[in-house]
């Protein structure tokens, strides 16, 4: 109990005592994590506000909602994404035009970081040198080259179709999984592939990025998207961030991505090294990845506390509402179908869709939408089992309870709920175990828990980090399962256990 109290206090205290907090967000992929970390550390140097990095917050939609609601103040974004995805425009303009479009939303964009992370075509450096190819225009003179392109690139309207007609490229390309294309290129099975211009594997596979000399690809310049009031609220911090303008080239970004993805260097270290030197240090050896050490890293207890909080608070809510709903479904014939259908349908909603919906409805990210989503998912097993447990009571027993002259709520409390206790507890157990798994999704919206590691591992394509999140979650599920078996013995009336053993 004192420990639980401590954990709760630890979770609450920072929120209570922080007066000015600058929240920096990042998306769920390597480059965004690194940029978010660089912004966070650079902002911290100003010593003006408490700076928090809410990292790996899922997709663009979630971050945009978080920014609008004020859950975060700044995050690194790309100009093309703002134009096409957030503002839904069909063509991009310059930075001044972008700010005119953003102003009505209370948002602004500034501080281009220096690189453009757009689609690009790449060849093996040696082969390109031999053929004398440095730009996409040059490809037109080499009809013998084989193109291996990702399905996404082939199908996007700003991808292959536009490129082919603009540069009059003669070839029919081969559709190829992006992950396999690097190997195919190395082995000479294809000659040209599509990449992102800051791709971590550029250096590793000795790729040459071909110059888009006709400027066909839309520009995705990295810059800061922020709430308009940030420079006014944190002038010193803003001045510190402005120093980052133009500081990172595409090559530098690619090298930092490589450090994270290929060498397993932690994001804070990459950011710190960059800020200390102004350049990217030479890649070192691969960081050692002892799984046990990864699992019990310094954040283990914080993540455990967050995870438990998510699971048990949502479960508590589901019990408090689910049992009465199940009772209602069992006793009110007209309510039965609606109740069971609605909780059933909730269960089928994809968790990310539900989270995105809750975020836009509540106008906040973090623990609250995660708790609500988990609560909704936990309802079905509890409602269904309560309903089944009560409906399955022998009619002669319900009649006996009625004929004694016990009023409805007394029958419920003294007879029906105890008789249904085994089924109800089984429902609660199912919900708890499912919740432990589903709670890992909460990391996508910044609610913490073991999912933080899974999300990070996914972004880095790093199995060890993913396992360091997945293993404790699985262990917690088993532990809960065991705990409930003990609780069964304690909570289920002795007569019901005797009845089954007899």
């Amino acid at each position: 109990m004192p420990r639980t109290l401590c954990i709760i206090l630890m979770l609450i205290t920072p929120a209570v005592f922080a007066e000015a907090t600058l929240n920096i967000g990042s998306k769920r992929f390597t480059e965004s994590y690194i940029l978010g970390e660089i912004l966070t550390q650079a902002a911290g140097y100003a010593n003006e506000a408490k700076v928090v990095h809410k990292q790996g917050l899922g997709n663009t939609g979630i971050l945009f909602a978080a920014l609008q609601s004020g859950s975060i103040d700044i995050y690194p974004e790309y100009s093309g994404t703002i134009w096409f995805e957030l503002l839904k425009k069909s063509a991009a303009g310059d930075l001044a035009a972008l700010n005119r479009a953003l102003a009505p939303l209370g948002l602004a964009a500034a501080i281009p970081i220096g690189f453009n992370n757009t689609y690009a075509l790449a060849m093996q450096d040696a082969r390109a040198a031999k053929l004398g190819i440095s730009s996409i225009s040059d490809l037109a003179y080499h009809p013998e080259l084989k193109f291996g392109l990702s399905q996404e690139f082939l199908n996007r309207k700003d991808g292959w179709l536009q490129l082919k007609s603009a540069y009059a490229l003669p070839l029919e390309p081969l559709g190829l999984d992006h992950g396999l294309a690097y190997e195919a290129l190395t082995e000479g099975k294809i000659d040209v592939m599509d990449i992102y211009s800051t791709d971590a594997k550029i250096a590793k596979y000795h790729l040459r990025v071909l110059n888009d000399d006709k400027h066909i690809f839309p520009s995705y310049d990295a810059l800061l998207l922020y709430r308009s009031d940030v420079p006014g609220r944190f002038p010193k911090t803003w001045a510190a961030l402005e120093k980052l303008e133009g500081k990172i080239s595409a090559n530098q970004m690619a090298a930092m991505n490589a450090e994270a993805e290929l060498e397993g260097k932690p994001f804070p270290a990459i950011a710190a090294d960059f800020l200390a030197s102004g350049t990217v240090p030479k890649p070192g050896g691969r960081a050692s990845k002892n799984l046990l050490r990864l699992i019990f890293a310094v954040d283990f207890w914080r993540l455990t506390a967050e995870h438990l909080l998510l699971v048990f608070v949502s479960l508590g809510g589901a019990i408090v509402l689910g049992i009465p709903l199940g009772v209602c479904a069992a006793h009110v014939p007209v309510a039965r179908q609606p109740i069971l259908s609605v909780v059933g349908v909730i269960q089928t909603l994809p968790s990310l869709a539900l989270l995105a919906f809750l975020i836009s409805m509540l106008g906040t990210i973090g623990v609250i939408p995660a708790l609500i989503a988990l609560f909704l998912y936990a309802l079905l097993p509890i409602v269904r089992n309560t309903h089944a447990g009560i409906s399955d009571i022998q009619p002669s027993l319900t009649e006996a309870a009625q004929s004694l002259g016990l009023p409805f709520f007394a029958r419920l409390r003294l007879i029906e709920l105890p008789l249904a206790s085994r089924a109800i507890l089984a429902g609660i157990k199912t919900s708890a175990v499912i919740n432990v798994g589903t709670a890992t999704i909460a990391a996508f919206v910044g609610a913490g828990g073991y999912g933080e590691r899974i999300v990070q591992g996914l972004a880095l394509n790093d199995a060890a980090t993913m396992l360091a999140g997945a293993i404790p979650a699985a262990a917690l599920a088993l532990l809960l399962q065991g705990g409930f078996e003990l609780l069964d013995r304690w909570l289920i009336p002795a007569g019901l256990r005797a009845a089954t053993s007899a």
Binding site: L404, L406, G495
Partner: protein, 246 residues
């Protein structure tokens, strides 16, 4: 005193009870008898307000049974069903005192009442600490009777109380029940399909068939002045079964 006035009940199109008027006088023991589906259990359920009549009304001590008084009336009626109808999650004792506890009767009153009933139904004291699944069929029935008698009801309703018991236990319990009924002097209404049991326990026999009262009277009246040939048929059939036994 409990009475039915022109009470009828159908389930969908199935007639369970044709319009029927019956009165049960205080202190008499009546048996409702007939083949299965004749409406005898429906009658008991109507008297307890477990089902509502389509027509007519049930009168308890001059008061028509309705939603407001149904719980009070149930407290004044003890109800015993086949195999006792005990709640499996409660010990025998907890089953017996459940309602008294709920109504906040004082502990010493409850204690004394349990002691008296334990002697009356002749159950070993140790059996009261057990769960229903740990009791024999006869013991469960005795506990069921204790539970029904706990609040000292005016009327005792028994629905095939001995139906689930083997013949030896059954005849032993029949003897005991007769003693208990005599001792208590309460109004008893007993449902059975066994004419011997009805005749042995009750002075007032109500023979039902297909939701209708065929005849009401003593065994002698039924034997010697049958209202319909069916009365003789029903009695003969039961005797024949006995005669065929080796």
């Amino acid at each position: 005193m409990i009475a039915l006035e022109n009470v009828s009940k159908t389930y969908g199109k199935q007639l369970a009870l044709a319009p029927t008027s019956l009165q049960f006088t205080k202190g008499r023991i009546a048996a409702l008898i007939g083949p299965s589906g004749c409406g005898k259990s429906t009658l008991l359920r109507l008297m307890l307000g477990l089902i509502q009549p389509d027509e007519g009304r049930v009168i308890f001590n001059g008061e028509p049974l309705d939603g407001d008084n149904v719980e009070r009336v149930r407290h004044a009626i003890g109800y015993v069903i086949q195999d006792g109808g005990l709640f499996p999650h409660l010990t025998a004792r907890a089953n017996v005192v459940l309602l008294a506890h709920f109504l906040r009767r004082n502990a010493s009153w409850i204690e004394e009442r349990v002691n008296n009933l334990t002697e009356l139904v002749r159950i070993p004291r140790a059996a009261l600490a057990r769960y229903p699944s740990e009791l024999s069929g006869g013991q469960r029935q005795r506990v069921g009777l204790m539970r029904a008698l706990m609040l000292d009801p005016e009327i005792l309703l028994l629905d095939e109380p001995l139906g689930a018991l083997d013949p030896i236990v059954r005849s032993e319990l029949q003897r005991e029940l007769k003693g208990i009924f005599t001792h208590l002097g309460k109004t008893v209404i007993l449902v059975t399909h066994d004419m011997n049991e009805a005749a042995y326990l009750a002075s007032d026999i109500v023979l039902l068939r297909e939701g209708r009262v065929v005849q009401r009277g003593t065994l002698n009246e039924l034997l010697h002045h049958p209202a319909e040939p069916y009365v003789t048929q029903f009695i003969q059939a039961q005797r024949a079964t006995l005669a065929e036994m080796p």
